[in-house]
């Protein structure tokens, strides 16, 4: 329970899935990540970059094929099923789709009760349910109702309440607002931010939208084709990214000012297949500054400044 240690420290985590015709999808490759207590780590990248799989691997919802994951000093990557089940209440997940993530046959009350009873006594259940609804801003009249009676934003609030019901220390929010109306997105992001501060939660916030992530995150990691390309403080990644992929991702963010002229750096081509990723740097096939060396060796994630690291041969100072 040392405070100096990060709450979550994953090193060289890889996740591979077999496909039906005996190939292997390299969903996540050698990603190292550490998240301090009370920190919000934003994870960005386009669809298929392995963000969701990494988030699930950190929760052991998928088994990593190699690497270690230490949660509060305990290695959960190799934990047995019984220990793991008891451990699970310490970390929770909020999904993208608030329609598929609630059992349509259960009432809000039974959904929250099921989770709360894992850590609460029967006597404290009723006040706890009221407290949970209050935390996420739902009326107490919600309890006897079914998920289909709620809107997308309200359903996401139910999902958040369910995750909070077990008093977790760490939450993976997997694109929690991508499926919602734009008008609702800000409400949910603000709610998550408030809850994070109020309850001192540690959070991994996954999104493909840099604008949403910068708002809530302390640090940001940029993923591409299963690898971590760059990590750094949120404001630095957003204002002064070092990696060519981060730059391209950033220039795709719309600027709400028609007078601002942005030089869009549009990436050509599609995301290569994670079954057969490019040799060397996985980004080289779409990279505007790639050179022949990029196909030779895989760049390590190395510091470029005090807090910022990136995986690219083209170091800002020119050294290789």
């Amino acid at each position: 329970m040392s405070d100096s240690l990060p709450l979550l420290q994953a090193s060289r985590v890889s996740v591979r899935f077999p496909t039906e015709n005996r190939q292997t999808v390299k969903a996540v490759t050698e990603v190292s990540i550490s998240i301090g207590r009370g920190e919000v780590f934003g994870l960005v990248g386009e669809s298929g970059s392995g963000k969701t799989t990494l988030g699930k691997a950190l929760l052991r919802l998928v088994a990593p094929s190699s690497g270690s994951i230490h949660f509060d000093g305990v290695d959960i990557a190799t934990m047995g099923p019984d220990d793991l089940r008891r451990f699970r209440t310490r970390m929770q997940v909020i999904f993208q789709d608030p329609f598929g993530s609630l059992n349509p046959r259960m009432t809000v009350e039974s959904i929250l009760t099921e989770a709360a009873l894992l850590v609460e006594s029967k006597a404290s259940l009723a006040p706890r349910l009221a407290e949970l609804l209050d935390l996420v801003g739902l009326p107490s009249s919600s309890l006897p109702r079914h998920p289909h009676e709620f809107s997308g934003g309200q359903r996401q609030r139910i999902c958040i309440a369910r995750a909070l019901a077990v008093r977790p220390e760490f939450i993976v929010a997997d694109e929690p607002v991508s499926a919602l109306d734009v008008s609702i997105q800000a409400q949910i992001v603000n709610l998550l931010q408030d809850l994070q501060k109020e309850l001192g939660l540690t959070m991994l916030f996954i999104a493909h939208d840099l604008a949403v992530v910068r708002h809530i995150s302390d640090r940001i990691g940029v993923m591409y084709l299963g690898r971590m390309m760059e990590t750094g403080p949120a404001d630095v990644i957003v204002s002064d990214p070092a990696h060519p992929y981060s730059k391209a991702l950033l220039s795709a963010v719309p600027v709400p000012n028609p007078a601002t002229r942005v030089t869009r750096q549009v990436l050509s081509g599609d995301l290569p297949s994670p079954i057969n990723p490019p040799s060397g740097c996985v980004f080289r096939t779409r990279c505007p500054v790639a050179v022949t060396e990029c196909s030779q060796s895989v760049p390590e994630l190395l510091p470029v400044s005090e807090n910022q690291s990136m995986a690219c041969l083209m170091r800002p100072t020119g050294e290789a």
């Binding site: 919802l61 089940r85 008891r86 209440t89 970390m91 999904f95 789709d97 993530s101 059992n103 259960m106």
Partner: protein, 282 residues
């Protein structure tokens, strides 16, 4: 449930089916009290009496008598007991057994799934009525044996549907969320999977009920089903067959009862399928 009732009232076919089945069920339950005479009472003097509305009919035997003078109406009423009991019992036994296996196959996947689904394939490769006749010939006629044999012939479709539905449900994120809470597998299966796969299984059950009512009648018709001392529709069809030209009522009337029940169950099944999920059906 309220929704179901509202839709039932709006569908005349379903309403008629439910009424017929309800009537059959009442007759079956209260057979000893509602049947006019003892269904086993033999009276050779009044054998092959036609129904009361025909020439030579008598009001003592409204639907006539068979070749040894037993009352056809009483026998049809008592026969409803056997048909419905065997139908419901086999669907419950085979249905629960098959559904549980399908649930296990779809939830745990891996070699468990492979083994169970190969068993289903093997089971479905046998014509079920042939298998039933063969087993019945071996174990001998009795009500219990009929129920067991027909249950064996019933479980496979339940297993298939349960597995398919479980696979679908397990892709939903509420299952992952339940896993993330650290709930036990059996809790997840019982609380999160079963309630979401039950509707299609009810539809399968309705069709299996119709099939098994017919199968029981077939076994009795062939003389390898329920022992002949118990009146059954299938048995009556078989016995009356020889007198079809001189006394059509002996086998035709239980045939009509059989047809009405099966038709009603099928119509109800069709309706349930439309209500629950228009995409299911084979």
């Amino acid at each position: 449930m309220n929704d179901l009732r509202r839709r039932l009232v709006r569908s005349p076919v379903a309403l008629v089916s439910v009424s017929i089945l309800g009537l059959m069920l009442l007759l079956a339950l209260f057979a000893p009290w509602v049947s006019p005479v003892d269904p086993g009472a033999i009276d050779i003097r009044t054998r092959l009496t036609p129904p009361s509305w025909m020439d030579g009919g008598s009001s003592d035997h409204v639907l006539g008598t068979d070749n040894v003078g037993r009352d056809v109406l009483s026998r049809i009423i008592h026969g409803a007991r056997v048909s419905l009991f065997v139908g419901v019992a086999t669907v419950l036994l085979g249905g629960i057994f098959g559904s549980v296996l399908g649930l296990i196959a779809g939830y745990f996947r891996g070699w468990v799934e492979t083994v169970i689904m190969r068993l289903v394939d093997i089971q479905l490769a046998f014509p079920s009525i042939l298998l039933a006749v063969a087993i019945m010939a071996l174990v001998g006629p009795s009500m219990m044996n009929v129920v067991i044999v027909l249950s064996i012939a019933t479980w496979a479709p339940f297993c298939r549907v349960a597995r398919g539905q479980t696979l679908q449900v397990c892709n939903q994120e509420y299952i992952t969320a339940a896993e993330a809470l650290g709930l036990r597998d059996w809790t997840i299966m019982w609380r999160h999977v079963v309630p979401n796969i039950i509707n299609p299984l009810i539809v399968v059950a309705s069709f299996a009920l119709a099939t098994n009512i017919i199968n029981e009648a077939s076994l009795s018709f062939l003389g390898v089903g329920v022992p002949p001392s118990t009146p059954t529709w299938g048995g009556m069809l078989g016995e009356g067959r020889n007198y079809l030209r001189i006394a059509w009522w002996v086998s035709t009337l239980p045939g009509i009862a059989l047809m009405l029940s099966v038709y009603s169950v099928n119509m109800l099944g069709d309706w349930l399928r439309d209500v629950y999920d228009p995409r299911i059906g084979d």
